[in-house]
């Protein structure tokens, strides 16, 4: 940190802890004096912080898991049916489009990805469970589902399947070498993939495109993953593809697919509103708790604060004092809430299989929301000081 930045930061911190001016830094003494109230206040704010983190975490996990497939695509461009509005809808393209795309100048490789729902039975269990099955060429691997060598070796074997290790545990114990049934056909578990469930599917398997086509020679892919030739410019190739492909084929980058999926999930299921309301509720609860705690403090210290008013301390001093307390409560509540959220995320990730992860952006958002809610609570509590008449002391 340069000295020009360090000095104001240091002075701000000195002010905050009361090392500089006599009328600053009282918040810490006031907040820490009544330990019961401190525990109630930080606990209450931590609860509000936890609510916000859980709501945001679930939202991010759902958006992330719904669009996870886009992150697995190992290519520069993707061709899909233009009627396919989201990745969980299997509108297909004709297989011939792969060959047509591969013929476009600048395309080095066009690889089909097949996807469908199957029924998995894990003998000796009698029950069957629905699972999502992907199929691809094990040599070129248009989807990154695991260690490339393992995937290549596994998918080169006949009737081999990769089982998604992140699948929910409804399928029972599935170990390497185990034989499972997919739509009544026996497959040998030759390895494991890492894909992860979402709110629709519980698990996944990956087959070779050969095995897929042997079961259904007329199968059509859900997408074609294209890799560009060295030196080819993406936008040029995209333009050529648009000309070469019929209008029912969309050409997108994996990143565009990701954001389209996020947008679709956000709009189609009103999770944005649902979880946004949850976050707002958390912030509202936090503001109410902060206000209530600080209001009680103001009422309890009415005589002492009125004495300071009588001595000549102005509204700015009292507002700063209350806000100092509010920010300290916010900091304590945020840290405890963050810790509780990390523990809750682990629990929820285990229970739901969703990728619950603490992101810096979410942490920053909740930190700002916590500061804002306590600021608001503090300002409302400070307003009551205005009604204190020092003359009431007599």
């Amino acid at each position: 940190m340069s000295p020009s930045i360090a000095r104001p930061v240091l002075e701000w911190f000195r002010d905050l802890v009361g090392a500089g001016r006599p009328d600053r830094g009282l918040g810490l003494a006031f907040v820490s004096h009544n330990r019961g109230r401190l525990a109630a206040a930080t606990g209450g704010i931590a609860m509000a912080v936890l609510v916000m983190f859980v709501e945001l975490g679930l939202l991010q996990a759902i958006l992330g898991s719904q669009s996870a497939l886009a992150g697995l695509i190992d290519g520069d461009l993707v061709i899909m049916n233009s009627a396919r509005t989201n990745l969980h809808e299997w509108t297909r393209i004709a297989r011939i489009r792969l060959a047509e795309a591969a013929a476009v100048r600048g395309v080095a490789n066009a690889m089909g990805v097949y996807e469908s729902g199957m029924l998995l039975r894990n003998p000796p269990e009698r029950r069957v469970h629905r699972i999502i099955a992907f199929a691809m060429d094990g040599q070129t691997q248009p989807l990154k589902v695991g260690d490339p060598d393992t995937v290549r070796r596994a998918l080169s074997r006949p009737n081999a399947v990769l089982f998604d290790r992140l699948s929910r545990d409804i399928y029972g114990p599935i170990s390497l070498g185990r034989t499972i049934e997919l739509d009544g056909r026996s497959f040998n578990v030759a390895g494991f993939a890492r894909i992860g469930p979402d709110i629709v599917m519980d698990g996944a398997v990956v087959l070779s495109d050969g095995a897929w086509l042997s079961a259904d020679p007329n199968a059509q892919p859900v997408m074609g993953v294209l890799r560009l030739a060295p030196g080819a410019k993406l936008e040029d190739v995209r333009a050529r593809l648009k000309v070469a492909m019929p209008p029912d084929v969309a050409v997108m980058t994996p990143r565009e697919i990701y954001w389209r999926e996020v947008g679709f999930t956000f709009r189609s299921v009103p999770i944005g509103i649902i979880f946004g309301a949850g976050v707002a509720t958390g912030a509202f609860i936090g503001a109410i708790i902060c206000y209530q705690i600080l209001f009680n403090e103001v009422v309890d210290l009415k005589k002492e604060l009125s004495t300071l008013r009588a001595m000549g301390f102005g509204p700015g001093f009292f507002r700063r004092l209350i806000l100092e307390e509010a920010y300290l409560l916010a900091a304590g509540g945020f840290l405890i809430g963050l810790l509780a959220a990390l523990i809750t995320y682990r629990f929820l990730a285990g229970a739901t299989g969703l990728a619950m992860q603490m992101h810096a952006g979410a942490a920053l958002f909740v930190a700002v929301a916590t500061g804002a809610m306590t600021h608001l609570g503090g300002l409302f509590a400070a307003r009551h000081l205005g009604s204190f008449e020092p003359a009431e002391l007599y």
């Binding site: 090392a19 001016r21 006599p22 009328d23 009282l26 003494a29 006031f30 820490s32 004096h33 009544n34 210290l301 005589k303 002492e304 009125s306 004495t307 300071l308 009588a310 001595m311 000549g312 301390f313 102005g314 001093f317 020092p390 003359a391 002391l393 007599y394």
Partner: protein
């Protein structure tokens, strides 16, 4: 004619024709009161309960708004002044209240240092520490510099309140029964410290009290009766 600032220095408090009634009150609590406090004076204001002593003190201290008459405190006219201007007057006055009203969370030093925040150029922590130590020594509670109020007796806390009023070396001290919770010896000590402050700085003090033990230490004793000043001895 003397300039206004010189007049304010020599006569820090001038009360002219002040009357006051409380809302819904049956009669005037103060009725056409005139009073002058000269530089360096220690004046006691006494009278029976309800005579209007505290009302007059709070009007002079700009804690209440003036209704009728004129009050000039340290050169500032109080009539018709807004809240911010009243706060400006209060910052220049050292108040001693009947109850100490110390914050339970603040040590004695922190309380005194906080009071120095009312001055235009607050002293550094180190300078305030020295000043506080000296003042508390004079008041006989030097050992309590870093004590919390719960570690002190009521009388000791009241002496901290006196120190809080004196720490900024105000030109005017207003006290409302400042010795009510003190024994005779402590009362003598506190009044002695206030008197020494007046002698050293030329400040003035107006103290409302029923405590006739301190009448003899005052330069003048004013008596209020039914809102009127009836004697000045």
């Amino acid at each position: 004619m003397a300039p206004a600032s010189a007049l304010a220095r020599e006569v820090p408090v001038r009360v002219r024709g002040v009357s006051y009634s409380y809302e819904n009150g049956p009669k005037r609590v103060l009725d056409n009161v005139d009073l002058t406090l000269r530089r360096g004076e220690f004046v006691v204001l006494t009278g029976h309960s309800g005579a209007g002593k505290t009302t007059l003190l709070t009007l002079i201290g700009a804690i209440r708004s003036l209704q009728d008459g004129a009050i000039n405190v340290l050169g500032l006219e109080l009539g018709g002044r807004g809240t911010a201007a009243q706060e400006e007057v209060r910052r220049k006055v050292g108040f001693i209240f009947q109850d100490h009203n110390l914050f339970a969370a603040l040590t004695v030093f922190r309380t005194l240092w906080l009071a120095t925040g009312l001055t235009e150029e607050p002293p550094s922590r180190e300078a305030a520490l020295e000043e506080a130590r000296e003042l508390l020594e004079q008041l006989g509670i030097g050992q309590h510099l870093h004590s919390l109020p719960r570690q002190m007796s009521t009388g000791q806390k009241q002496r901290v309140a006196v120190a809080r009023a004196l720490i900024n070396a105000p030109q005017l001290i207003l006290g409302d029964e400042p010795t009510a919770s003190l024994d005779h010896q402590s009362s003598q000590m506190v009044i002695g410290v206030i008197r020494r402050h007046l002698a050293a700085t030329g400040a003035s003090a107006l103290v409302v009290t029923h405590d006739d033990r301190i009448f003899g230490m005052a330069d003048r004793v004013l008596r209020l009766q039914d809102g009127r000043l009836v004697s000045d001895t």
